[in-house]
Amino acid sequence: MTALAITRMNDLFAVVMLSGIYSLMSAGFFLDLDAVDVAFTEASVGAGISTLLMLASLKMVKRYEGKTKYKPMLALGVVGATALLLIYGTLDMPHFGSADAPIHQHVAPRYINDSMAEVGVPNIVTSILASYRGYDTLGETLVIFTAGIGVMSLLRVSRETKDQQQKRVPADMQQQIILRIVAKMMLPLILLFALYVQFHGDYGPGGGFQAGVIFAAGIILYTMLFGLSTARLVFKSSLLQKLTAVGVLLYAGVGVACMLLGGNFLDYNVLRHDPVHGQHLGILLVELGVGITVATVMITLFFKFTWRTVKHKYIEQ
């Protein structure tokens, strides 16, 4: 696991492949440490989307890394010193896996023992994510939203290339007939599975973040095989932008609705007469909002990067 990270040397492409493996491994590690939800997210995000984005941007830059100008010894020294200090710092830390570490004393018992009665959702991670720490998650969703806007404005493509792009028949994977057919067969399964993850997140691992990423991965698969212009017929950029905003608004709107009904912001108890039912409804809506935002932002990111690539190719020719 650790040895892997060292050997990422010259060829950037190999580096990206290795970082894909690295991500898969770390997800396995998370699973081993009982963090199923985290493993889920890392698998879909780290191994999938980030590798895709890295590849898409690698298309546009040089593949090989240049010679490093400076001697790495100084850097090595600094890093070594930092590592030694950190290891010295860990000597006071609680042992791995010990149940009486300070982290397990404060709020975690409340979450573990009472969340079933208060929220009524078996998956504690979901209940903390959407209910106890709903503010945090709202903030995270906003961060993702902002990142989407940032990439949109950074990688803007002018109108003229767009028209030319629509005329161009995407001939990239035209030869791979088997691949196309199999992908077509798998696409509905993937989308169905994403919905399952979305709405089953209360009971098993999963939730809005993961479902959004899986949904986006399905769409990206389609885009890669059938061309960007085909996929854009379904997901127009105006639709994507609106949906991104709708997700965040849904999340915040649930909070405002709670306030209007007499509770605090994001206090789902008041949504229904029975507090537990209210919590259920609130978590479902909030996760839906997160899912919509994440899925649309991921699709937008991929579209923007691919579009940029197409533009580069067009200019080159």
Partner: protein
């Protein structure tokens, strides 16, 4: 025993050191981003491994189990991963723009180009000619 029980932190430290090293020692911007994400993963490991309880199971309630790992770090890291990918995406977008503007993503080349640009602008602002010896001298500074 006292020392062995801390091995998870050491793994984290080693990973962190590798990521840190890549960030400061490599000049390629994409490599730097990957180093950054390794660093990020090290932090994730730190949190998750602190949440682990020996003999515990995943924090999804079930009648058969009574000891669960701490769910709080899982929540924090779950959102952190997704935010991490968004920041990486913004970083990559910046890299692409830099490539378009400078034709390179190596740090020192960009800096050289920047310095040249700046000096030329300054010289022009002060009314110097570009082709005399003075500008070459100030480039060396």
């Amino acid at each position: 025993m006292n020392i062995i029980g801390l091995y998870n932190y050491w793994i984290v430290v080693v990973l962190m050191a590798i990521g840190f090293f890549i960030v400061i020692a490599h000049e390629n911007l994409i490599k730097k981003l990957i180093g950054l994400s390794i660093f990020q993963t090290a932090v994730f490991f730190l949190y998750i491994s602190m949440g682990k309880v020996v003999g515990g199971t995943a924090p999804i309630l079930d009648d058969k189990w009574h000891l669960y790992s701490n769910p709080l770090p899982h929540v924090l890291i779950l959102t952190a991963i997704v935010v991490g990918i968004s920041t990486t995406a913004v970083g990559l977008a910046l890299v692409v723009r830099i490539q378009e503007a400078y034709g390179s993503i190596e740090e020192h080349e960009i800096q050289t180009l920047n310095a040249q640009d700046q000096i030329e602008c300054q010289l022009e602002a002060y009314g110097f000619m570009k082709n005399n010896a003075f500008s070459v001298k100030s480039l060396d500074e």
